[in-house]
């Protein structure tokens, strides 16, 4: 298995954008009420007095 960094290096910016779009259309994300926008997440957390449950993941490689 190749290292994720090497896989990403071989991809164009268009491909990376497409992979990101695919990632945020996966069911766990779209059905679960997630956001991938940090500023928007912080603003909502402030308004609703909540914490950010943060999941670090990647879209450029499986």
């Amino acid at each position: 298995m190749a290292a994720p960094g090497l896989i990403a290096q071989g991809k164009s910016q268009e491909e990376l954008k497409k992979l990101y779009d695919d990632k945020v259309q996966e069911a766990w994300y779209s059905d679960g009420g997630w956001t991938a926008d940090f500023a928007a997440a912080k603003a909502r957390a402030k308004k609703e007095d909540k914490l950010l449950f943060t999941y670090f993941t990647r879209s450029y490689s499986p």
Binding site: Q13, Y29, A36, L52, F53, T54, F56
Partner: protein
């Protein structure tokens, strides 16, 4: 995990779910977050406050741990500066917050819980969390080989008889079930045995199916074939042993009913 309905209900209600996605898209600011928070790999979890400050990275991968830590965090951060400044705080709330944050060891937690005036809700939550710690202690002893599996089975069976049950979504459920089946089988206690038996059997059957699938998938790999064949045999053996135990416990229970 994140597709689970219970997780989704909790996530929408109690926290803001933020997916920090590393994209490798040029100039995308959020791509820097993983390293900014000191993580190296995927997937990682963290609780951040609304300013983006790290609250904790110590989050279990099960819903119960996630719920417990997030509930404790805000109280903990509210009370900690006061405690550090020597101010009086609600001792029960402070205890619950430290317990939820995983700051207390088992014996400390038991001792403090016994000496405090906890309300009914706090008592229930504390006793569940302490029970999770007790089970965790058994696992540690098994890992260190300072306890035999049989003794762990006896201990979990004793917990069951004391009415101790794990909260929904706890990751130790499968350990609890496996040990209870052992302990209850030894004690010939059908009621306790069949409390956990369906989940244990389902777990073993699922494992067998996934091993058989793996064997087919890697049919050209000799080493993989050895691995899958060995594990398929041992899982089949475990299922057969479980069925023998189930029959024996049931026979004993029927005899008692008739007798």
């Amino acid at each position: 995990m994140f597709s689970d309905k219970k997780f989704q209900a909790w996530g929408k209600q109690d926290v803001v779910l933020f997916a920090s996605v590393m994209t490798r898209i040029k100039d995308r600011e959020d791509d820097a977050l993983l390293s900014a928070y000191g993580f190296r790999g995927f997937p990682s979890l963290a609780l951040l406050d609304s300013e983006g400050e790290m609250v904790t990275k110590e989050i279990g991968r099960d819903l119960y741990s996630m719920q417990t830590v997030s509930a404790a965090v805000s109280v903990y951060h509210k009370l900690k500066p006061k405690v550090d400044a020597g101010e009086e705080v609600d001792q029960a709330a402070w205890f619950m917050a430290r317990l939820g944050m995983g700051e207390l060891k088992l014996e400390e937690a038991k001792k403090e819980a016994a000496g405090l005036q906890l309300n009914d809700g706090q008592k229930e939550t504390a006793s569940k969390q302490i029970f999770v710690m007790e089970l965790d202690g058994l696992i540690q002893q098994l890992r260190k080989r300072s306890m035999e599996v049989d003794a762990a089975g006896d201990a979990v069976y004793a917990f069951y008889r004391q009415g101790k049950r794990l909260p929904d979504g706890a990751s130790l459920t499968s350990f609890y079930d496996q040990m209870l089946v052992k302990g209850a089988s030894k004690a010939k206690d059908a009621e306790a045995f069949f409390f956990s038996y369906p989940r244990v059997k389902e777990g073993m059957t699922t494992q067998l199916e996934s091993l058989e699938k793996g064997k087919l998938q890697y049919k050209d790999n000799e080493r993989a074939q050895e691995y899958f064949t060995r594990n398929i045999e041992s899982t089949k053996k475990q299922i057969a042993e479980l069925e023998i135990q189930a029959k024996a416990v049931k026979a004993k229970a029927d005899k008692v009913d008739k007798g």
